[in-house]
Symmetry: D2
Subunit: 147 residues, 4 copies
């Protein structure tokens, strides 16, 4: 079950070349991540600022196949996957809303669960395991995760 | 008939004080303006970059009554009004989506219709008159507009 | 003594109309405010997130006289003024760096000193009084300030 | 000869977690790219919007080693390298300004030279060859470039 997020390209997303500024595509993907968390019942203000644990982005990458312009109606598919007891990855595909055949862009982020005070690694907490079960291709199984 | 735009506060909108960065409230209001144009059948890419006429923002102001945080579900009410043959104003009220009693913020923008090549004033074109008729408190009447 | 901040317009500041996106002019003015605080010895991370007092922006406005494009070298003049025991205002003028005759834009922000926990008004603290003395047109005098 | 760009982290760069929002690190790196172009005498408004050729970003990636906070004084080192007759890559290292030992972040972008009308590949034009010669580790040699 793939999480899908709808998003219209806005004037602020564009630059003087007339298309979406490259780094804003990653920001749109992060919006899809936020929407998927909210869809799993996670309260965003606490998640992004109030919890004892944070999910620091350690790596991000993005490929651009076709430019996007103001008013484009997009759909972003998101698939999270656990990669260790303390990490997960998310892959994103950005499509025009009327066709999900050829992506306009693909992106990828890697997140590390840390204690916000000590910035040391923590096991992924229960609400994130639930979110991974809900939207991931492969459900996380504690025994299959190596740190 | 008031135009209403729904918007969830995203992580990128916030700053290290934990609330929405002040200038981003104006950007959210501009999104509502874009959505109202699209709802009147105006093609946004052409409107914001391809037409011979542009609608330059000459003034903007914003008042902040309560802070907004990541995940807040907002509703923005927008009311445009013509102020001369070549200008219109838009007033915005930003509410929490569950109650439109006390606004969190109010904003205001003034737009001047100009020729993009010469940057001289132009009369408001037909699609904008239609948009003003659709969402404005008072419909524009050519005879009542003084330049 | 006017505080002057130099800033080059960057690609990200622009939009598909080829000029600086309107709300980004206010963000540039806020950068000038940050630079003026740092120039008075205020540590920015603490000021904007760690102090018990915050300086909430209650109002902002901006006028646009000429558009700015990518690569433009700007200079922003900033003048703060206290308006009560718990408030100050800042006025900004944005010029091309090679001439400070006609501003491209003028902006204005009003800041209220509050307790971050209770969000109630507080008297302006000592470091802000020092900053007002350093960069303001008129030095604040405790006896002349009415709340 | 490495190009070095100084940049102070601003309040707008941060998010509610108190650190720089991840995608903004890529935007800072793009600023360094713009500054290196200007340092080679390239006029930015024309480069990013007016030329017949554009340098579309096809790929970007970024690694985060340590978080950055408001007020941090950074230095970004940038090294461009041609990879074919129509492409170049740029690698970036983001350091605290007082020490260039351990980077806080590393990033990478790949740029394809295209005709803006047809969006087909073009050979890199002379001003970009000059820029590559000036700031690259290895000067481009037409004979060594394969498409």
């Amino acid at each position: 079950m793939v999480f899908a997020y709808q998003r219209t390209v806005r004037f602020q997303d564009t630059d003087a070349a007339g298309v979406v500024y490259f780094a804003n595509v990653l920001a749109m993907c992060h919006e899809a991540y936020e929407a998927s968390l909210a869809a799993s019942g996670i309260e965003l203000q606490a998640f992004f600022g109030g919890w004892d644990t944070a999910f620091a982005i350690a790596h991000a990458s993005v490929d651009f196949f076709k430019p996007m312009v103001c008013g484009d109606r997009l759909i972003i598919h998101l698939t999270p996957n656990p990669t260790s007891r303390s990490e997960f990855e998310i892959s994103y595909q950005v499509f025009m809303a009327d066709t999900t055949q050829k992506p306009l862009s693909k992106a990828f982020t890697r997140h590390v669960c840390i204690d916000t005070a000590t910035r040391t690694r923590q096991d992924l907490p229960h609400p994130i395991i639930t979110w991974l079960n809900q939207w991931g291709e492969t459900a996380p199984s504690p025994s299959s995760l190596a740190d």
